[in-house]
């Protein structure tokens, strides 16, 4: 069982991911500039 149980009104965790070009991208950049982000975590690319 995963101990992390984020709920609405919690602060979204920011982690550094990679763009397709291999550059580091802070996840928080996705919801900056007054924009909302829908994060879709894929299971796999099959």
């Amino acid at each position: 069982m995963n101990p992390v149980n984020l709920q609405p009104n919690d602060i979204a965790p920011d982690v550094t991911l990679l763009g397709l070009d291999g550059q580091s991208v802070p996840l928080a950049r996705m919801w900056q500039d007054r924009q909302i982000a829908l994060l879709v975590f894929l299971r796999h690319l099959g």
Partner: protein, 137 residues
């Protein structure tokens, strides 16, 4: 994912950027993007840091339940191309809406691969969040 593509204008109208996160390799991700024609931002998480931070579960048992096999069979019979398994099939996914202040407005962790929120659920959550705060319950 195909449904998200079809409804992309509705998400854009609600000032929402769709960000797809995968733990796949860059070459696999490039192929996937080309095959699906997805117009989303795609970020890679090879170490699954974000998957852990957002509490997404790992379960081989639920990933390959009878329900999942039946769903795959339906998709293949309907003409969907089978791309094979790319990577670790035990990792489960999920969907989160984060507002421009970095606050989670909607959280959905998949119990198995067939369990995803509907487009209408996602749009309803966004529309609800767009309402003035004094109208919220």
């Amino acid at each position: 994912m195909a449904q998200l593509c079809q409804h992309l204008p509705e998400f854009e109208a609600l000032n929402t950027r769709i960000v797809v996160i995968s733990f796949g390799r860059p070459d696999q991700a490039g192929i996937w993007l080309a095959e699906t024609n997805a117009l989303f931002t795609l970020l890679l998480d090879p170490e699954r840091k974000a998957y852990r931070a957002y509490g997404l579960e790992y379960s081989l048992l639920r990933s390959w339940s009878l329900n999942v096999w039946l769903r795959y069979a339906q998709l293949i019979l309907s003409g969907r191309k089978w791309r094979g398994i790319q990577g670790d099939s035990g990792q489960l996914g999920g969907d989160f809406i984060v507002d421009s202040n970095g606050v989670i407005r909607f959280a959905y962790r998949s119990l198995d691969p067939t369990d995803r929120p509907s487009i209408s659920q996602l749009l309803a959550a966004l529309e609800d969040d767009a309402k003035p705060s004094d109208n919220k319950s």
